[in-house]
Structure formats: structure tokens, C-alpha cells
Symmetry: C2
Subunit: 403 residues, 2 copies
């Protein structure tokens, strides 16, 4: 991955910044991504019925499929709080005035605690210095400023050649709790300089989110504030992508999927309290959708997550999760494997226990990334989902979140 | 609750016993409930597709709606293990031979670790002394012998007068992990001396399980071994209950619901690692089913469970769980309350935060039983679900389950 460090600023036209406005005690809490030109823009939102005020404002602003800036704060979700809508609009207006664009071209997002009134004056006061700080090196600062319980920032970028032109895609994301499939996604801001029609950009985003952000779970709770947006400046000057069945569209989607998958895996790896990334592939299934549902049930199983924390190859919990996932399958044909850089064991064959080396299992499960493989032996399709282990630290973080 | 200590032995005709057969290292692990006469019998099973072998054997044995004994072991689930079916049949046969009944009249259940071969010889060797130990005082021993990670035994009994005759209902249950709504239930053995038709007994059991055992969640994992059965000896000699619209049926169901609710609440209270019982009522809803789905989503929310452990009135997580429950509602009409023996606070009105005394909130949430009340203000129906907090101890128990 080249340009990784440039993140959302890798594609042509984009600047970013992050500052401390005072919503959080000390850490940076206000991020801005700005493009020098108007962008065709796509977005997806949480499927939670209780949606935070900024999402409604953003939906309105994106009715025309265009945007030029993203303003986002951390430390307060602006959800179920007095003056939610008014404050979200004020955030957009302050940015619009400071950079000289329409407020309808500003995407607004918030993340943090639910139900506390947003201190909008602090944000408004911070926006001029935020705009001042905009730079092509600003992606990391923006990625930091949207973090909540994340322990590190998530950003990346890739290059891809379309019709002889280099197209770049960059992104930043934040976790790391209240994360569960069936959402739009967590907060993720993606940028690209590709030249593409808006309806195809939206299709590409949905295709990739389904296979990346919607295949992770940290804790089974679908957030009220989730959103992913993708702004395309067109400055790469490739010939306009306007056909879904074109080679260019396919190549672009593949590159976008690479960025989304990288960010989604990082979110899972840094899930609240996590000590390891759990990657689960259900293979040789009848359909990708069936495999996806099962893989998601496994990585979301509290008991499996706790076993992975303990380094315990308790495969019965995996078969159990597949059993309640709602997808019909023949467990008496199913094989289960645990795998990591330290080796591989087959723990179960045709739904029955196999003798395996417990000491080796312990070593395999002590690694930082663990693969669980469930082989259904009924077809050719597969899907991978990502999660993390359940730890004492998770309980600590969420028992004491507001103290 | 009279006769509470007699548990499954409270109704006329029933004996019970529990012994140590050697499946577990030290604790009692083999339970028997026996009736002097054949009983009309009802049962419900886990909805998990992966079902343990004893459940299939029990389903076959209960095809005629009759049984006379329950044999159950803890320490091993006899699920996904070699010779599962054969071993379950051997358990039934050994009991049948020892007490002189048909093996088809024996209900078989197992609970414990999945995937480990059952040491059937130990069970067969233990059954003669188990039968010897049968007594009218044996309910507590049986309740102990089915425990896994439970910290105390669950049993109860009630009396009810039907047409001038005293009818008794008793039960024992075990928890305390892999417990989640959508199941049949956990392991629960119920007895009664009521005189009733089998189809009505089955209806009564299903009605009560839906409103008790199926309204609890410990960890979101639906077990492979869950089952509840209800044996009716008829020895109370009340006139046969054969009509669903009779006063006697209604009275019996109400008493059965009392027993089931008591046991279900105890399972939630003693959930793995739990420090407190969380009781959640969604009220003034359009329908009981809608209220039930929402109440279950709230008590199953990992984030809400962790907040309750921390004594944190983080009501945004409750509204968030209602939002992703899948039930349409107007969150801008919803009020939320926290309540315990120490008082009550209203934390949210019409979907917006209310100022409340944080010190009082902390005191209220430090109690052993906490009530969460969500008022939808859209109708007259309500439902209550029960769960527990998420603690360090849960992670410890399930990270190290097999060590």
C-alpha cells in the first residue's frame, strides 16, 4: 500500500486537519476533510432506527449527490440531545462560511456519548483554526480527531491505474465500540480523485461496505451514529466511468474494496479491550450470503470471543454459533480449523471432535491474528468476517465509560 | 411460595436424587427425577439446529406424550461427540432397568462441554446407587447435580386449588452460560400432580416458557442442549382438565407461569459472572410481542450490561438497543427510568436527556436487582425480560472454561 500515510489526502484535491476544540478534555476532537473542487459523493448510514441528528442533516445535504467537506467531532454523539438538529446545522454552516462554500455541501458527523447536549460554541470557535490547519499532510490529524476509545488511528490509501491514469483512494475510520453488522458502518470517510458518475459511486460504496465494514462486529451493538461517505474529486482525469459492466468500474471497485477491507480489519483488531484480531472464513458453502451470516454469527459469539481471549480451542462454541445463525446446514458434514502464523489444527471433522495437540492449539491461539475456518463441504462459495476477543479490558472500558 | 424446598418432589408421586458418578471431578453430576406412576408429559427443545444427541432420543421417547423418569448428567453435553446417540440411549436403558419401566418412558438430558466423548460407563455404574438414593427429599440433590457454572441451585414449588383439590407444581433449573432467547429453554425439569390432557399440558408449557425462560439472556448464545419438560402425575385427583377455555386451565397456567418465572429470574440472577439481576419492562406498547422483542434487545445489549456492572445510568445505550431491535417505534416519544429498592430516576423524556442526580443514580444502580423501564406511550401492552450485568468474572469463566 503506497501513500498509506497520506490517507484521505492521497487523492488529488483533498486537504485535511484535526484540532482540539474542547469537547474532549485534552485530545483532538474536531476533524475536517476538504476538497478544492466539488465532489460527487456517496454515503451509507446506520440501520439503527434511532439515528443521530447529524445523519439526518447529512442525508438532506447529499440529496444532490454532491459535497465538498466533511466536519466531524468526537466526544459527543449529538444523539438524543436537545437542539441536536440545530447544532448539526450550525456545524455545517460554520465550516461553509469559513471555507466559502454552501452549507449543503458539508457532510456532518459526530461520535461519542449519547444524550449529552453538544457544546456547539466550542466547535464554532474552533472551526477557523481548523480551516487554517488544512493541509495535504493533515490526514493523520483528522484520523486522530475522530477517535473515541480507539487506541490508534486508522488510515490508508491505494493507487490504481485506470485507462493510463493513476487514480488514488484514501480513507480514515474510527471504532471501537458499539460496532456490529447490519449497520451502515462506523464512521469512515473515504476520498478519491476518480472521475465517475454518482450512481456508480454509490453502488461501488455499497458493494464494498457490505463486504468489509458490514462484516465486522465488536460487541453486537449497532451504533446510532454510523456512517461512511466517499467523495470523488474527478481530478485524476480518467475518462468518466459511466458503465457498471466496464473494466474500469471493476478495477476501481476492487481497489476501493482493498481500502475498505484494510480499514475494517483495523477496526476489528482495535475493538474495545481487544488483544487479538479474529478472522473467520466459512468456505465451501452454497452461497456467499449464507457463508456471510454464519461467519458473522461466529465472530459475534460472546462465548467464542471469550474462548479466543483464553487461547482455548473450544470449537463446540463455534459449531453452536453456526447452529443458531439461522442458516440451514449439515453440521455432521462440517470441519473446523484454527490457524495462525504458528500453525494449523483441525479440531472437528464431520461435526465430531478430533484429537488434537492442545499445547500446539494454545500456541496457535496466542498469536495476534487468529483464523477460524469452517468448511461446510456443500458448495463453492465463501465469506470472511472479522472480530476480536472479549477481555477484562472491554468490561472495564464499558463499565466505566462515563467516569 | 410454600413447599419451595420440596421442589420437583412437592407434587404427589415424585421422588428425586443426585449423586457423583465421576463425570465431574468432585461435584455431583447425575440427577434422577422419578414418578411412581406414568405421567402425561410435555417438552420444548432448543431452537439451535445443532442439537445434542440426548434431545433426539428424548423427542423419540416423548412421541406418545408419556414419561416416568428424567435422567440428566452435568459436566459433558454429549453433543458433537462420538457415540452420542448410543450413549444417550444407554443412559435411558440403565435407568429403565434399574427402576423397572420401559426405556421409552425415560427423558434424557446432558449439559456441559461440547465435543468430548461421554464416559458412559461411569454413568451406568452410578445409576443403581442413584436409584437407591431416590427420596421425597431429593429435589435439592437433583438440582445440584445438574449445575454447571451455576453458583447456587434453582428450585421452587407452588400450590394451587383446582375444584377443591390442591394441585402442586415444582421445578428445578440450571444455568448459567450459553443462554439466550429464541431457545426452547435451558435445562428445566418441572413436575405436577395435576390431572390434565397431554395437549393442554403442552400448550400450558409453551405459553409459560415463552413468557419466562424465553425472556432471559445471559450471553446471546443459544445452547445446543436446552430443554424443558413438564411431567404430570394426575395424583392430585382433580377432575380432568380438558378444555382450554376452562377456569381450571387458566388457574393452572397462572401457577405454572409463577414457577417458570421464578426459575427464569434465578437463572438470569445467577448468569455467569453476574453481580446483579437486570429486569427490563417495555410498557405502553402497541403489542406484547413488540414490547418483548425490545425488552430482550435491551437486556442482551453488551454495552448496557457493562454499564449496569459499572453502575452507570448510560441510558443512550438502552435507546440504541431499542433502535436496532427491528421493531418500529417513535424514540422521540419514549421515556426511560431506572428503579431499584433505593429509588427511581427518570433519565430520558421523549427521547431527550433529562438532568438527573448522578449520585442517586449510582446508589440505585448499586442494588442487587435493577429495573429498567421504557415507556413507549403508544398503546397498552407490555413485556418484561431478565438478564444480568457483564463482568470481569464472565470473561474469566469463559476464557478459562476448559482449564
Amino acid at each position: 500500500m503506497e501513500n498509506k500515510k497520506k490517507g484521505v489526502c492521497a487523492p488529488q484535491g483533498f486537504l485535511a486537519a484535526g484540532i482540539h476544540s474542547g469537547i474532549k478534555r485534552e485530545k483532538n476532537d474536531l476533524a475536517l476533510v476538504f476538497c478544492k473542487v466539488p465532489c460527487v459523493t456517496a454515503a451509507v448510514y446506520t440501520s439503527n432506527q434511532v439515528k443521530a441528528a447529524p445523519l439526518y442533516v447529512t442525508m438532506e445535504h447529499l440529496k444532490d449527490g454532491k459535497a465538498q467537506a466533511v466536519i466531524a467531532n468526537s466526544g459527543n454523539a449529538n444523539c438524543c440531545a436537545p437542539f441536536g438538529r440545530e447544532n448539526a446545522v450550525r456545524m455545517a454552516r460554520a465550516v461553509a462560511e469559513a471555507v466559502g462554500i454552501q452549507k449543503q455541501d458539508v457532510i456532518v458527523a459526530s461520535t461519542g456519548i449519547i444524550g449529552v447536549p453538544l457544546e456547539i460554541e466550542k466547535i464554532e470557535k474552533g472551526i477557523p483554526s481548523l480551516v487554517n490547519a488544512l493541509s495535504e499532510e493533515g490526514s493523520s490529524k483528522a484520523a486522530e480527531a475522530i477517535m473515541t476509545t480507539d487506541t490508534y488511528k486508522k488510515e490508508c490509501a491505494v493507487d490504481v491505474i485506470l485507462n493510463g491514469k493513476t487514480v488514488k483512494i484514501g480513507g480514515i475510520s474510527k471504532g471501537s465500540g458499539m460496532i456490529h453488522p447490519n449497520m451502515g458502518t462506523t464512521l469512515t470517510f473515504l476520498t478519491t480523485d476518480v472521475n465517475i458518475e454518482q450512481n456508480l459511486l454509490q453502488k461501488a460504496l455499497q458493494y464494498c461496505v457490505k463486504r468489509s465494514f458490514n462484516r465486522i462486529s465488536i460487541d453486537g451493538d449497532t451504533s446510532t451514529n454510523d456512517m461512511a461517505c466517499l467523495m470523488a474529486s474527478g481530478l485524476a482525469a480518467n475518462s468518466l466511468i459511466e458503465k457498471e459492466d466496464s473494466q474500469e468500474y471493476a478495477t476501481f471497485v476492487q481497489a476501493l474494496l482493498e481500502v475498505c477491507t484494510h480499514l475494517a480489519r483495523e477496526l476489528a483488531r482495535d475493538g474495545e479491550g481487544s488483544t487479538r484480531l479474529i478472522s473467520c472464513t466459512v468456505c465451501n458453502g452454497e452461497s456467499e450470503d449464507k457463508a456471510e451470516i454464519m461467519a458473522k454469527a461466529i465472530i459475534a459469539s460472546t462465548l467464542t470471543k471469550a474462548a479466543m481471549f483464553g487461547g482455548d480451542a473450544n470449537w463446540g462454541r463455534i459449531l453452536c454459533a453456526m447452529g443458531y445463525s439461522g442458516v440451514p446446514f449439515d453440521f455432521e458434514k462440517t470441519d473446523l480449523y484454527f490457524k495462525s502464523v504458528s500453525g494449523e489444527i483441525k479440531a472437528c471433522e464431520n461435526g465430531r471432535s478430533l484429537p488434537f495437540d492442545n499445547k500446539l492449539a494454545k500456541i496457535i491461539l496466542s498469536e495476534e491474528e487468529i483464523h477460524i475456518i469452517a468448511d461446510l463441504k456443500e458448495g463453492k462459495e465463501k465469506a470472511t468476517a472479522w472480530g476480536c476477543d472479549l477481555t477484562y479490558e472491554y468490561v472495564k472500558i464499558n463499565g466505566m465509560y462515563r467516569s
